[in-house]
C-alpha cells in the first residue's frame, strides 16, 4: 500500500521511511506541506499519510483541512505525527481533519498498529464504494442484458438533446425491434428468448463507439443514441447496426437462429424544438414503417418542424406495441 510521509526534518523522514518500507509500504517522502498536498491530490496518490505538524509552506493541520475540503476524491487516512503533545493541540489536530495523532519520538510497533487501523478504515471505505457502485449499476442497467435500462437511456437522451441544441452537434436516435421475436419465445421458450436478447445486446454494443449509448427500451426493443454523428454517415451507421444482427446466426441452447432487426432513425438535424417524447414518437413511427415495409430494414423519420420553444424535455414513457 502507498503511504506518504511529510516531514521537514531529514532525520525523522529517513527513520520513518525505513520503518515503513520494512513494514511493506510503498513510501513517498516529501519535506513540506505543499508537496504533501500535491501528492495527496494525485488520482492514484497515497491514501495513507503521516504528516508532521510543523512544516514549511503548509503545516500538517493545513494539509488535513485542504484534503478534507475535497469531496470528489477517495478518502485519505491521515495521521499527525509531531512532538506537540498537549490535549489542546491533540484536539486541534483532530479537528483539522486528521484521523489519528502520534507523538514523536514514535514507537515503531505503535506506529505500525495505528497504520493498520487506517488500512482497515480504507478497506471499509472501498467496500462501501463498491456496494454503492453495484447499487448504482443495478438502478441504471437492465439485469438481463446489462445494457442501460429504459430510465437511464431516457435520461441520457434528454441530456443529449440539450447538449446537441447547445453545441450544435449532430446526434442520431435509433429505435430497433427484433423481428418476429414473439415466435422465438413461443417456439423455443423464454430461456432461448433471453439468450437471443443477450446476444443482440452484445452485438449492438460491439457495433457502436465508446461514447454512444445503447439501452434496452422495452422487451425486444433497443434504443441507440449515436453522439456526434455526422448526418451524412448516420444511415450507414444504422445499417451497420442492423446487419450486426442479421449477418450471422445466433447460437442458442436450441440451435442456431437467424434473426433480423427493423430500425427507425431520427437525426438531430431534423429534431427542431421538440420534446424527447415527441422525438421518440417520430422515431417509433419510422420503425413502424420499417416493419410495414417487410422488416429487416431501416427507415428514416420525416419530422415536422416545431417552432415554439420547449422549456425542458418531457420524459413520459411510451408504450408502442408491434
Amino acid at each position: 500500500m502507498k503511504i506518504l510521509i511529510a516531514d521537514d526534518d531529514a532525520l525523522s523522514r529517513r527513520l520513518l521511511e525505513k520503518t515503513l518500507e520494512r513494514a511493506g509500504y510503498e513510501v513517498t517522502a516529501v519535506e513540506n506541506g505543499k508537496q504533501a498536498l500535491e501528492q495527496l491530490s494525485k488520482l492514484e496518490g497515497p491514501r495513507l499519510a503521516l504528516l508532521d505538524w510543523v512544516m514549511p509552506e503548509l503545516d500538517g493541520p493545513g494539509v488535513c483541512r485542504a484534503v478534507r475540503k475535497r469531496s470528489e476524491q477517495t478518502y485519505v487516512y491521515m495521521v499527525l505525527l509531531t512532538s506537540k503533545g498537549t490535549k489542546e493541540e491533540t484536539v486541534l489536530g483532530l479537528e483539522s481533519g486528521a484521523d489519528d495523532y502520534l507523538t514523536k519520538p514514535f514507537n515503531a510497533e505503535e506506529l505500525r498498529a495505528r497504520l493498520r487501523v487506517g488500512e482497515r478504515i480504507l478497506l471499509l471505505e472501498d467496500r462501501l464504494v463498491e456496494a454503492r457502485e453495484n447499487m448504482r449499476f443495478r438502478a441504471t442497467h437492465d439485469p438481463l442484458t446489462s445494457l442501460l435500462n429504459r430510465g437511464a437511456i431516457m435520461d441520457l437522451l434528454a441530456r443529449e438533446l440539450h447538449r446537441s441544441h447547445r453545441e450544435k452537434k449532430s446526434t442520431t436516435i435509433l429505435l430497433g425491434d427484433v423481428d418476429h421475436f414473439k415466435q422465438v419465445n413461443d417456439t423455443y421458450g423464454h430461456v432461448v428468448g433471453d439468450e437471443v436478447l443477450i446476444e443482440i445486446a452484445n452485438r449492438l454494443l460491439g457495433s457502436v463507439r465508446s461514447y454512444d449509448f445503447v439501452g434496452r427500451y422495452g422487451g425486444e426493443e433497443f434504443l441507440v443514441v449515436l453522439n456526434s454523428c455526422d448526418p451524412a454517415f448516420a444511415p450507414g451507421r444504422a445499417e451497420e447496426l442492423r446487419r450486426s444482427v442479421s449477418n450471422r446466426a445466433i447460437q442458442t441452447a436450441k440451435g442456431s437462429l437467424n434473426l433480423t432487426m427493423s430500425l427507425g432513425a431520427l437525426m438531430s438535424s431534423d429534431w427542431g424544438l421538440r420534446t424527447v417524447e415527441e422525438l421518440l414518437h417520430e422515431v417509433d413511427t419510422a420503425l413502424y414503417q420499417a416493419k410495414a415495409s417487410g422488416r429487416d430494414c431501416l427507415r428514416m423519420a420525416r419530422p415536422i418542424a416545431r417552432t415554439e420553444p420547449v422549456p425542458a424535455p418531457l420524459l413520459q414513457p411510451m408504450r408502442l406495441r408491434r
Binding site: L11, K18, T19, T86
Partner: protein
C-alpha cells in the same frame, strides 16, 4: 535537568524557575538526575537501537544526517536568538527537539523544547539562557555520537 515527554507546560515552568535559582553544571557529566531521581543519559543508544530495529546501516544514516543538519540548524538558531527573532527561534527549537528526540538525545531534546516554549511565550530575556543550556547539553551529546561513529567505522 531533565523534562520527560510529553512535556507539560506547568512542569516546564517550574523547572525553568528552578534553573533560575540554582547554578547547574553543564557538559561535565553524561548522566544527570531528573526530578524522579533517575538518571538520563545524554544519548539513549538502547532506545535508538530499538527504534531502528537494530539496523546498524540505518543508524549510521541517521547519525550522518544529524551530523550534517544539527550544526546548520544550531547556527540558524544562534542568529535568530541574537536577533531576538522569537518566531524563528521557536520554529528552530521545535525542529531541533524533533531531530534530537528521534535520535535518542533525551536531555538535549528537552533543552531544545525549553527554548521552543520560551520563544513561543515571547520571553526574550530568557532566550539566551535557554540557548546556552541547549549548547551545554549538546556539548555532552556530540562527543558520544562522535565516539560511536568512530567505533562503528572500524
Amino acid at each position: 535537568m531533565c523534562v520527560s515527554k510529553p512535556i507539560q507546560l506547568e512542569f516546564l515552568r517550574l523547572d525553568m524557575e528552578r534553573l533560575g535559582d540554582s547554578k547547574l553544571e553543564h557538559g561535565s557529566e553524561t548522566m544527570k538526575k531528573n526530578e524522579d531521581g533517575h538518571s538520563d543519559p545524554a544519548w539513549n543508544l538502547a532506545e535508538l537501537l530499538e527504534r531502528v530495529d537494530n539496523d546498524q546501516e540505518l543508524l549510521r544514516d541517521l547519525l550522518n544526517i544529524f551530523k550534517e543538519d544539527f550544526p546548520l540548524t544550531m547556527r540558524s538558531l544562534e542568529v535568530a536568538v541574537a536577533a531576538e527573532d522569537l518566531k524563528n527561534a521557536a520554529r528552530l527549537g521545535h525542529t531541533l527537539k524533533g531531530m534530537l528526540s528521534s535520535l535518542g538525545g533525551v536531555r538535549t531534546a528537552a533543552a531544545a523544547a525549553r527554548l521552543e516554549v520560551i520563544a513561543s511565550a515571547g520571553e526574550t530575556a530568557s532566550l539566551k539562557g535557554a540557548l546556552d543550556a541547549l549548547k551545554c547539553e549538546a556539548a555532552s551529546l556530540l562527543p558520544e555520537l562522535e565516539a560511536y561513529m568512530a567505533e562503528v567505522r572500524h
